[in-house]
């Protein structure tokens, strides 16, 4: 009985520990036009699919909170800090990131470097060329009251 009890406790403790790779992402600007922007995104993940999702998610986050250097969207779409935005609009960002609504704005996602361990990087990474429909993303932010429409 005691051994069964201890085994169950051990099983419980082990199941609550998840094996995750330390997060890493890098975004590089490629091209843009009036409505879309393309970026080369590198990200880590436990598997190919999670790494690809992380890359696309990081591309969206870069546009939202940091801006993309060298592009027409060098300023972030959302002014202020990421933490402040997440606190102010928790429902919207929960849907956007955790429920993966960001995928709606990804018009193209092409694997450039397959999921593998690459020199100098932590864990296994994948590199994608991602095209984001920037205009649609901006309009979504405006219609949900996350950002102000152009003007005062």
């Amino acid at each position: 009985m005691k051994s069964v009890f201890l085994s169950l406790i051990a099983l419980l403790v082990m199941s609550s520990c998840s094996r995750t790779t330390a997060e890493f992402a890098r975004i590089v600007y490629l091209t843009d036009d009036r409505a879309t922007i393309s970026m080369r995104c590198t990200a880590t993940g436990d598997n190919r699919e999670k790494a690809a999702q992380a890359a696309r998610r990081e591309a969206i986050k870069t546009l939202l909170f940091r801006g993309v250097a060298g592009s027409q969207q060098s300023r972030p779409l959302i002014e202020g800090t990421e933490d402040a935005a997440l606190q102010q609009h928790p429902q919207y960002f929960q849907q956007l990131f955790e429920q993966q609504h960001y995928e709606r704005f990804v018009t193209q996602s092409v694997v450039v470097v397959p999921f593998a361990r690459n020199n100098g990087e932590q864990g296994k990474t994948i590199t994608l060329d991602v095209r984001i429909h920037l205009e649609a993303l901006r309009k979504d932010l405006e219609s949900n009251g996350i950002v102000r429409r152009f003007g005062l």
Partner: protein, 299 residues
């Protein structure tokens, strides 16, 4: 056996799990619609060029203006039509001026535009290809403050289609230009709109700005300055200069909305407050406004 209920309770009790926070309902912002600024896109006029005919003679300049206005349209913002305003102005005697600077100022002032965007186009013809550069500058009509500045380049191509190159040059910088302008709009929303307040004395008035006035016996200029300081949004103002006969505040920040009523606040309402203040000093005034400039003549 008594242990099993405890284990079940631990398993389903959420040990090692993150409890989801119930998202707070987001409170919708309400209230009065903010009056948007009027923006006009105008061509840059070089020496020897005539503002009246500059667009008639060059389709590529028309393409540049149209592409810029298209960029504003894509953001849901309507601009004032330059050609229509120019035609309206040509009906008046004011168009007899030969000075292009006067003409441009008259055009911008008569249009009622709060902001204007000046677009300059430069064509580069070389043996290794042709290119077009576009310089976009956005100004506040009243204060002359620069709101956004961008240079767009088409890149070199072996083509004679300057319209296409001009279009490419505008597309290369329009989004960034509008984003910079939007950042300035955010500054206006947060820190107030800039107006210019020009105090002058009527010719028949015996007062000067050094005259001691009011219950504290302070010079008129100091009374005005202290009052402006108390009224300016977040105490933000700047004095351009003071003489015996004139006192100019080239930047006074006023809120977008009246803090008491939530209604749109504008230069006319600020003028009303100036009127009440002057009356409290026992002075009568004449008020005029042009765009975001308030002219106060003290009698």
């Amino acid at each position: 056996m008594k242990v099993f209920p405890l284990l079940l309770a631990l398993l389903f009790g959420g040990v090692g799990t993150i409890s989801a926070q119930t998202p707070q309902p987001e409170v919708p912002t309400a209230a009065t619609t903010t009056v948007q600024p009027k923006i006009m896109v105008i061509p840059y006029v070089k020496a020897g060029e005539d503002l009246r005919t500059i667009l008639e003679n060059d389709v590529n300049k028309r393409i540049v203006l149209t592409k810029i206005r298209e960029a504003f349209d894509s953001r849901g913002f309507t601009t004032v039509d330059f050609v229509a305003r120019l035609k309206a102005l040509s009906q008046s005697d004011a168009m007899k001026s030969d000075s292009q600077t006067d003409l441009k100022s008259m055009l911008v002032a008569s249009s009622g535009a709060d902001l204007y965007v000046e677009a300059e186009m430069d064509v580069l013809l070389t043996a290794s290809g042709n290119a077009v550069k576009v310089l976009l500058t956005g100004y506040d009509t009243s204060s002359g403050a620069s709101l956004s500045n961008k240079v767009g380049e088409s890149g070199k191509f072996y083509t004679d289609d300057m319209g296409k190159l001009a279009s490419k040059a505008v597309e290369q910088c329009a989004t960034d230009f509008l984003n910079t302008m939007q950042a300035k709009f955010t500054d206006i929303v947060d820190n107030g709109r800039t107006i210019v307040v020009d105090f002058s004395l009527d010719e028949a008035s015996t007062l000067t700005f050094a005259s001691e006035i009011g219950t504290q016996g302070l010079p008129l200029s100091d009374e005005i300055m202290l009052w402006i300081e108390s009224q300016a949004h977040k105490g933000n103002y700047h004095v351009q200069g003071t003489t015996d006969r004139q006192m100019i505040f080239d930047e006074v920040r006023v809120p977008l909305k009246d803090p008491k009523t939530g209604a749109n606040y504008n230069v006319q309402k600020f003028g009303l407050e100036v009127f009440k203040f002057m009356r409290s000093l026992g002075l009568s005034i004449e008020r005029n406004t042009k765009a975001n400039t308030l002219y106060i003549k003290i009698k």
